[in-house]
Amino acid sequence: MKVKTAPGSDYLKLSYLACGAGFVILLVLPVLAPNLTAYGIGLLMYVTMAVGYNLQGGYLGDLSFGHAVFFGLGGYAAALLVEHNLINWAPLNVFIGACFAAFFAAVIGLPFLRLKGFYFSIGTLGLSSLLLLVVKNVLSPITKGEAGLMIPPPQPYHIEIFYYSILGIAALSGLVSFLIVRSRCGLAFTAIRDNPEAAAALGINVTACRVTGFALSAFIVGTVGGFYAYYASYINPEGVFAGTISFEVLIMVFLGGAGTLLGPFMGAAAFYVFEEVGRTYIGPGFYLLPALLLILVFLKMPNGIMGLIDGRNKKAVEKVSEVNRAC
């Protein structure tokens, strides 16, 4: 049955159209503007990360402050297989890297997802610092520590191959996230985010869903990590486990609108342009601005760009607490 169309539904249709048009432009970008190809790769990496983060942070409402962990694990797993002469076929390495990130998320998810709200966020923040140290110091005989790992780029080298690979990954991630959100799994995610107790009382296995969401999210972000390792031909602990990666992806998702299908696309695109322009024209001082942006988003538009477009259910949460106080 169709849900009543929200007041902003015309704008919503427009934004779907805009995303479709964006995809078409990206499809022919290397032909139309070859010098923008590298920018396109950066943008698509951001988009994919945001899509992955949104599945858990947006729909399940489990805010991770350490998603760089999965970016780093995906990258390192792919790179280590090359370094130790085990497997070196880029698509397979990237896939194994992503699987490893997802597996890691599932294993740590079981204890971590016993934590609720802020405690989960702080836990993941601690985890990312811990993993940075482990990869840098504890495992340095295997990972070469701070020196990092070199990965010879696949031959023959064409930047277009990288471009269309990440475009494919981004499109596939978008499609998977769309299918999940529209399935009963997506309904369960939203129910858990809104109210875990009621969700459990109505027959949803809350822990299983949260672990699944965590692993799915880690898989997508891990894919980008593996891709990045090949694309940059180099990976080092500070570069992939850095807290800035975790927070940038969070900013993108909230800027676009957490828990909406188009939000991560909008947010990643807006943030990428913001960052590239800022870096070019402002210089190093620019790095203060993303933090400021996050504060502004939380204060002025908690539902992000999609909230401005769609505008549905803004006051729902306030209303419920009001009624509960009155009883």
């Binding site: 049955m1 009543k4 109210n195 969700a199 296995n205």
Partner: protein
């Protein structure tokens, strides 16, 4: 016929014994009321039955099966569904989608496998509580009494044999309370389910239940037909204080 049975259920939080050695039985098709002053352990007992707490001692038996300590979602799937004292809607979903959660994940699961069945289950549940007209609205546009009905509809959509209702009339006007009572009796009659209901409004529960259990400080102090229970001296003492003025708080 017995459908649900609690045996010597006990639950403590630190030094506080919230429920102490409480046994009860619920017969197929009846409405059993659960009353008692604030803090007497009613909601804790609900949490023990529905799997939100694990009892320190005692057992919950459903259809001759021991379900003590099961997860809430498993308990829902065998046919026991609860509502909450504080309203717990899914705030970002519409009324229809809220109830759909029960239909999709509850006992039938995916509406028993049929594609169109989920919609029918949701519609029937909304009709039973009188919210079918409002199905496409966001929950933020519902009134308090409608939110309570939504809570009930969602539980019904999960397809329970035993419905645990926690203070579904709290915050309602007398007229709304009257309507809610009628609906609960109707739902029981039409769906043939069994209801265990917590209620603060004595008048409501007297008119509604066939039997009543009274809790005080975690212990069961009385059980029986409504008129027996209201005339029980111990119950009167708990609710009104001692008659001869020995009780300082009552005089």
């Amino acid at each position: 016929m017995l459908i649900l049975e609690g045996q010597n259920l006990t639950k403590s939080f630190g030094g506080l014994v919230a429920v102490h050695e409480v046994s009860f039985d619920l017969r197929q098709g009846e409405i059993l009321g659960l009353i008692g002053p604030n803090g007497s352990g009613k909601t804790t007992l609900f949490n023990l039955i529905s799997g939100f707490y694990r009892p320190d001692k005692g057992k919950v038996i459903y259809r001759n099966k021991d379900i003590t300590g099961w997860r809430p979602d498993r308990i829902c799937k065998v046919g026991i569904t609860r509502t909450f004292q504080l309203i717990h809607p899914f705030a970002s979903l519409s009324v229809f989608e809220n109830v759909k959660v029960g239909a999709v994940f509850g006992r039938g699961g995916r509406g028993g496998g049929k594609a169109g069945a989920v919609g029918e289950i949701v519609f029937a549940a909304l009709k039973d509580v009188g919210l079918d007209e409002k199905r496409n609205l966001p929950v933020s546009s519902l009134t308090t009494s409608e939110l309570r009905k939504l809570e009930l509809a969602r539980a019904l959509a999960a397809g329970p044999d035993v419905l645990l209702v926690d203070e579904v009339m709290a915050g309602l006007t007398p007229v709304e309370t009257e309507e809610m009572m009628e609906r609960i009796v109707c739902i029981r009659n039409n769906r043939g389910i069994t209801v265990l209901i917590i209620e603060h409004i004595l008048k409501a529960i007297m008119g509604l239940s066939e039997r009543i259990i009274v809790l005080d400080h975690g212990k069961k102090i009385a059980e029986g037909k409504p008129d027996e229970v209201v005339n029980n001296p111990q119950v009167i003492e708990v609710y009104l204080g001692k008659e001869d003025g020995q009780d300082a708080s009552g005089s």
